[in-house]
Symmetry: C2
Subunit: 339 residues, 2 copies
């Protein structure tokens, strides 16, 4: 006789009390008589009553949902970030909606607008490599919707951020190569408009200058993406010129692309050229030679971002925009190590 799921009204009708009494009884409010409370709770249990999510949202103007905007979904690092976010969000009673912009600025703008309208209580974002205009994010700040950046951040906007110390990571990676005795070290990086790539390159430069080593313009290569193909194509001329004895790549995939080139002209890794990658993707441990790399704690970054965001949601007036800096660790494997 009933159709949809059971509501508070149904329980009220059956028990001949008002909906408000039922509502309070379920909240264990001492205003309602203990007998009534028990009766209500018993019936609710019997009918497996579940509060209507949307109704709650409307009443409280809280959706208990967080939004994520990321450039890519099929990507080990971002998968880890999402897992970190989800774990923290779920255990705090929040749901998560993900929008992947596919590295497209337009899509990023559309998605972010779609998420504003009371769909989410807050947003976590990592900007795409196409993004150079940040107005759509400013709108969040203007509308007072909590916003947290992670990884690829936007420097212009005043919001909490979770980042890796990419400078230090780049510095460590190159320092390690120098300690292995390398002197002619190349850099292969991703899109230079992203802060993370600027920082990794800066770390590279710093380590070199500190060691009194020089680099050359064509030892520094910028790729449009961090993919294997980009790495293979872009590093080919440099590698064929046989000038270098080491290479620091800003992603593991770029590193593997470069290694393919090295192998193809008979150069051995690590004996002839040492290589360090970045991100510690699962492939880097399995590849041969296994790849020295810098860890990128995606899970922890996701957790931290969710934590900051929920904190921000719960204290909307508190305007502390802290930047949490995570640290990368050098993982030494075969590609940069001779026994």
């Amino acid at each position: 006789m009933k159709k949809g799921p059971v509501t508070i009204k149904d329980i009220a009708r059956e028990l001949n009390v008002s909906v408000s009494t039922v509502s309070r009884a379920l909240a264990d409010n001492t205003l309602v008589k203990i007998d009534t409370r028990n009766a209500v709770k018993a019936l609710a249990k019997k009918y497996n009553y579940q509060p209507h999510f949307t109704a709650l949202s409307l009443r409280s103007s809280k959706t208990r949902t967080l939004g994520i905007i990321i450039p890519q979904l099929v990507h080990e690092f971002f998968s880890m970030v999402i897992r970190g976010i989800e774990d923290h969000a779920y255990s705090n009673g929040y749901n998560v909606i993900i929008s992947s912009s596919h590295e497209s600025y337009d899509r990023e703008v559309i998605d972010s607008k779609a998420l504003v309208n009371g769909r989410v209580d807050g947003l976590m974002a990592c900007v795409s490599r196409e993004t150079n205009n940040f107005d759509h994010f400013k709108e969040f700040v203007d509308r007072n919707i909590p916003l947290v950046f992670f990884d690829c951040i936007c420097d212009e906007i005043d919001a909490p951020k979770v980042v890796l110390d990419d400078f230090e990571a780049g510095y460590q990676a190159v320092k390690h190569l120098i300690e292995q005795g390398c002197e002619r070290i190349a850099y292969v990086g991703g899109p230079i408009n992203l802060l993370i790539n600027k920082d990794r390159l800066a770390g590279y430069n710093r380590a070199l200058s500190e060691a009194g080593l020089n680099t050359k313009d064509d030892w520094i290569i910028h790729c449009d993406s961090g993919d294997y193909e980009a790495g293979r194509l872009k590093t080919e001329p440099l590698i064929k010129s046989k000038q270098i004895d080491a290479l620091f790549a800003a992603t593991d995939m770029l590193a593997i692309g470069a290694i393919k080139n090295l192998k193809s002209i008979g150069l051995r890794v690590p004996q002839d050229v040492m290589v360090v990658g970045f991100s510690n993707w699962s492939i880097s441990a399995l590849y041969e030679p296994s790849l020295t790399t810098m860890s990128q704690p995606g899970y922890e970054m996701g957790q931290k971002a969710a934590e900051l965001l929920i904190q921000r949601i719960n204290n909307p007036d508190q305007e502390i925009n802290e930047t949490v800096v995570m640290h990368s660790e050098l993982i030494v494997r075969e590609s940069s190590h001779i026994d």
Copy 2:
């Protein structure tokens, strides 16, 4: 003076008309005078009015949100599926909420219950390897909430399904090895309670028997997971016994684990032992030797699942529970091919 986002009420007040008129005007209802309509639309544009998502949901009892339950998030295949689902969902005006059960039955149950309460209009699920009880899914059917299974399906429940023809894929993989001249072919698979693994194994058996070849009990290995480590540990005794000249693995990672063992005792791939994997993960093209594998069209499966689900949502009474079968393709690479 105003606080939250602008509502239909605000527009009504400013224009001295009723909310209903504004509502109709925005819907371009010809009942309202064209002048009024234009005035309303102009003001809505000026204030960047966005309909309140939650209010719409409550009114229409539609959330325009789809739920996904998957065993793992950090997984190339599932990432592809999600991308396929999201692309289709977004372009049809749906959002997506993902719950990853982390291969845990309990988590799967909790998540699915959480999604029932009017949070989603429908659900897509891939059961975890721990799952042998399907009551929580039956609840969806009972409650008449549209449900679609993909990949790891539940046979007992009458719902639309999107699956790979795992039998045919297994058959093709092994047939290919036989055509390469292999005669002593082993199988390494994932958890056998999952239908997909049963089917891949059945395909293996069929190809063998069709070719008049025999197998042995200890040439068939079942792992608890499809991971690299599982593959490496579980295949070690078999490989050290040097009985086989080929191996079909139910995942690329299992295949690579096995290849590591082969290499460690000096056996060459493909010269001494040929290997075929499954899923065509990106690592399989990059690994050396590059890995012959069966494609697994995750993106397309996701798209199809979303399509079926939205279809189901729009026609709730239509009880056609079709099963869509996708096909896998053999991708021949170095690990099973001698020039």
